[in-house]
């Protein structure tokens, strides 16, 4: 199996995922894809949590497992967000037949 990959490497990977997710938020115009990008960011966070959980193994089960537990909770958060997000998406789509976020600039006027 070779030497274990250091935590820093995993976190760097998660940072890359996080950044790509953020880029998606900035560049995607369809609301649902923006939302997908946010999911990417949440997963980046999860990856970091899991990597850190392994790192904290030396500090005992309590500390180490809390990281994994929180991943579980974040998953639930993501799920709840999806529910509400898709709800909003659907309502707005019914009014506009579009989920292009660039059309959401009426309020300013």
């Amino acid at each position: 199996m070779g030497a274990p990959v250091p935590t820093e490497a995993w976190v760097a990977l998660s940072a890359a995922l996080f950044a790509i997710g953020a880029i998606g938020v900035l560049t995607r115009r369809s609301a649902i894809l923006v939302f997908l990008s946010v999911e990417l960011m949440l997963n980046a966070a999860n990856l970091a949590l899991v990597a850190f959980a392994r790192q904290w193994a030396a500090a005992g089960t309590q500390v180490a497992m809390s990281g994994q537990t929180v991943v579980f909770i974040v998953l639930a958060i993501a799920a709840a967000e999806v529910a509400v997000g898709l709800g909003i998406l659907v309502t707005i789509f019914r009014d506009r037949v579009s989920t292009d976020v660039d059309t959401l600039s009426e309020v300013r006027l």
Partner: protein
């Protein structure tokens, strides 16, 4: 290490696919790929239970919901770039790269020694279900309960949002003959008067209730 590199490459390609592929369906599928790869990564990181959850719940259930909505709304190509915002794409990549590099630099500037394999193995025994359960129903019991509240909130919110659409489109149909559900209904005219609007809304929501 090799596994890590392969995983990273696949994961990043998937991620880049999410933010670049023109067809929403493709992007979503690309995300599924990334999520699956993540599941493998969790295995690598001794989080077997999470890996399973990741694949089943996330890549499975949640993403299916996404795909469902994409298909339901029949979302197609994003269309031409909004000229006023064309600058964002290059800028976003630059800022993104810099941010990722920054995080990585900060992490590497604060290196930690990985515990030896034995320690890790001692902690992460089995699938991890038991340990997570201990946490969730021990120190994190409050959080666990709150997750319940959160999900309740999500449901109530989603239902509240979507259900009124049924109401309004029903009332809209009631008024304008032949109007299709896809036609964006106008906001109720203001001159309808406060009371009548209120009554209508109440009665129609009652209708919706019966319908359900």
């Amino acid at each position: 290490m090799l596994v890590f590199i392969v995983l990273s490459v696949v994961m990043l390609i998937g991620a880049i696919g999410v933010v670049t592929l023109r067809q929403p369906v493709h992007a979503a599928l690309s995300l599924v790929g990334t999520l699956l790869t993540l599941g493998v990564a969790y295995v690598q990181l001794h989080a077997h239970f999470l890996a399973a959850i990741q694949v089943i719940v996330y890549a499975g259930a949640i993403m299916v919901l996404f795909l469902f909505v994409i298909m339901l709304l029949n979302l197609g190509d994003e269309g031409p770039v909004t000229p006023r915002l064309a600058w964002i794409r290059p800028a976003a990549w630059i800022v993104g790269a810099v941010t990722a590099a920054g995080i990585a630099a900060a992490v590497f500037a604060d290196p930690r020694v990985l515990p030896d394999a034995a320690t890790i193995a001692a902690v992460f025994t089995g699938s991890g279900v038991e340990q997570i359960a201990d946490q969730l129903f021990g120190p994190y019991v409050l959080s666990f309960q709150l997750v319940g509240v959160l999900l309740l909130t999500g449901i109530v919110a989603a239902v509240g949002l979507v259900q009124r659409k049924a109401v309004t489109s029903a009332s809209a149909q009631g008024r304008s003959v032949g109007a299709s559900g896809r036609t964006p209904p106008k906001a109720p005219p203001m001159d309808a008067g406060a009371t009548s609007a209120g009554t209508r809304s109440r009665s129609s929501s009652a209708t919706a209730e019966r319908g359900r």
